[in-house]
Symmetry: C2
Subunit: 331 residues, 2 copies
């Protein structure tokens, strides 16, 4: 307790609030990863520290698939795309004729699509979205999310997010960081739910996109998607997308695959201290264990770069106390 | 004055601040334009009003050339581009050979470039920027701005901004609006000075851009511009760019030419009340008077659309008490 003496001779007794410093990352086990993150953030916000970052420059970028939510057995957007394409094919028997990716989608053969990597993914995106307005598309994603469940766990996709990452997003924001998603997934797909699932507004989502056009129909102006890829936000596309949308180099980046390597390089090979994280999927019990032999979330060269550049590698099995929110105690 | 009784029996005398409601737009003359803007903003922030806008949706978009700063006798970026290209030609005698736009730039013939419209502008942008890193380019723009002056007024370009628009930007931000620039000009050109000149951070600047690539040179990662236009942020490009970068429909839009028409349509032909402004350059004494007969800032169909859709048209001569900051009283 201390005393404030006011001009008029009045004396005011002030009780300082007892700061109970709650653990900002309760789903993270104690260890080098957790303490490294906290040390970096505490230095970033300390004006007396050499690694201080002014608030405007506190940019944190997160990959989505395999980083913020799961990506096995295939990208969740593929599950949406297959549903959408089946529906289109039911309405138009000629839909997708002669296109092996769309044929696979109609047959529910996600493996064939996933095996085609980003090419298959982007082709599916074109097939599922072309001709739709961006606003109708987002609404359709929301409706799908409300009823769809994960093919292996049976959980709604919104429960397939990583609890430790939700905590990390909040922790960064509580310290004045602007959190962005930078994903190879579709920009409008993610924008449909990023605010409710991650607390990230649409203007802080960067992703792959289709070419689009502006049109007025019946005195209503809107933007419609065309059957052509406009931007592939993977690999080198990630730093290019960050430069296009943000115009600043991030100081904090999180990814999990070789597709994130250039984003982490752009973040850490710059003018000032920065922090980069690779999530290594090592937990075959609570999640999936995979790296260099997986098509989805292929992780090989980025793991070598992590060693070279001193990035923090998260061992999911040992670093995370909880993986999914539905596995939290008491649930 | 009122009294606070504290638990311990202490009495504290508190003087409430007398709120002198200063005019938020002192450089605007009283009239329909000013009162219309204020009425819209007051309704937007009033939760009890039917036109209330939740804070996250308070998106205000501003064209730059001819809207936030002058564009006569030619876009200021053309002045920068000519300086840059002259320098490149001095270093390499073969530079720009066979390209009429670059030839005109070397000869200081801005009229030939301007007469070519956006095509000439974008070609000049390619010639002036290709091969540079985005960060070096922005630094070069800042160095140029520090010494260059306007060809007619002799003022630094930063003094060629519209004082009423600086006030409008602040007024919108004071009411929780996020202010964006949406310009046909180069995204990185504007980002070089948007924070200091307009108080707008780089992530809130949308503009035309060149294709770019990511590269690591000597362990330093950067983004470099290529000799190819990536995005033309004019006409229909404006709503498409807004959807790409923001992912929300604005509720407030300001422009001055036919190149802004689609942005204003996108803003006002939507789901809810919105406000759109066209700046009409009518002041040949303090600024320039031009509309449908001008190549730069051509204004014809948008003026008709303003009538059709009820957009507010600013008559610069009568609506603005001051035009440029250097014309302010006492300067």
């Amino acid at each position: 307790m201390f005393v404030l003496r006011l001009a008029a001779g009045l004396v005011l007794w002030v009780c300082p609030v007892t700061l109970v410093l709650a653990d900002p990352l309760p789903s993270w086990n104690e260890g080098a990863a957790k303490s490294g993150i906290i040390a970096f953030v505490e230095q970033s916000v300390d004006p007396a520290h050499s690694a201080y970052v002014v608030p405007a420059e506190r940019i944190a970028v997160f990959d989505q698939d395999g980083t913020l939510w799961a990506e096995k057995p295939y990208y969740f957007q593929i599950a949406y795309g297959m549903t959408q394409i089946k529906q289109r094919a039911a309405e138009d028997p000629d839909f997708g004729k002669g296109n092996p990716v769309l044929k696979a989608a109609i047959e529910g053969d996600a493996e064939t699509i996933a095996a085609d990597g980003m090419k298959g993914f982007l082709e599916l995106m074109v097939g599922a979205q072309e001709g739709m307005s961006v606003s109708d598309f987002k609404e359709s994603v929301r409706q799908w999310l409300a009823i769809a469940v994960h093919p292996d766990t049976g959980e709604p996709y919104e429960q397939m997010v990583y609890q430790p990452m939700l905590e990390l997003l909040s922790y960064m924001r509580d310290n004045g960081f602007k959190t962005y998603i930078v994903s190879g997934g579709g920009i409008n797909f993610i924008r449909a739910y990023a605010q409710t699932v991650y607390g990230i507004p649409p203007e802080q989502v960067i992703g792959s996109s289709l070419k689009s056009e502006f049109e007025i129909r019946d005195d209503f102006a809107n933007v419609y998607m065309l059957p052509e890829v406009f931007f592939d936000d993977n690999h080198s596309g990630k730093p290019v997308g960050i430069d296009l949308h943000i115009g600043r180099r991030p100081v904090f980046a999180v990814g999990n695959s070789d597709g994130d390597q250039q984003m982490l390089e752009y973040t850490t090979l710059g003018e000032r201290p920065a922090f980069a994280i690779l999530v290594h999927h090592t937990d075959s019990e609570r999640e999936w264990a995979y790296d260099r032999n997986s098509d989805v979330g292929h992780l090989d060269t980025a793991l070598k770069a992590a060693k070279q550049y001193g990035w923090t590698v998260i061992d999911m099995k040992s670093d995370w106390r909880t993986v999914f929110p539905y596995q939290l105690d008491g649930k």
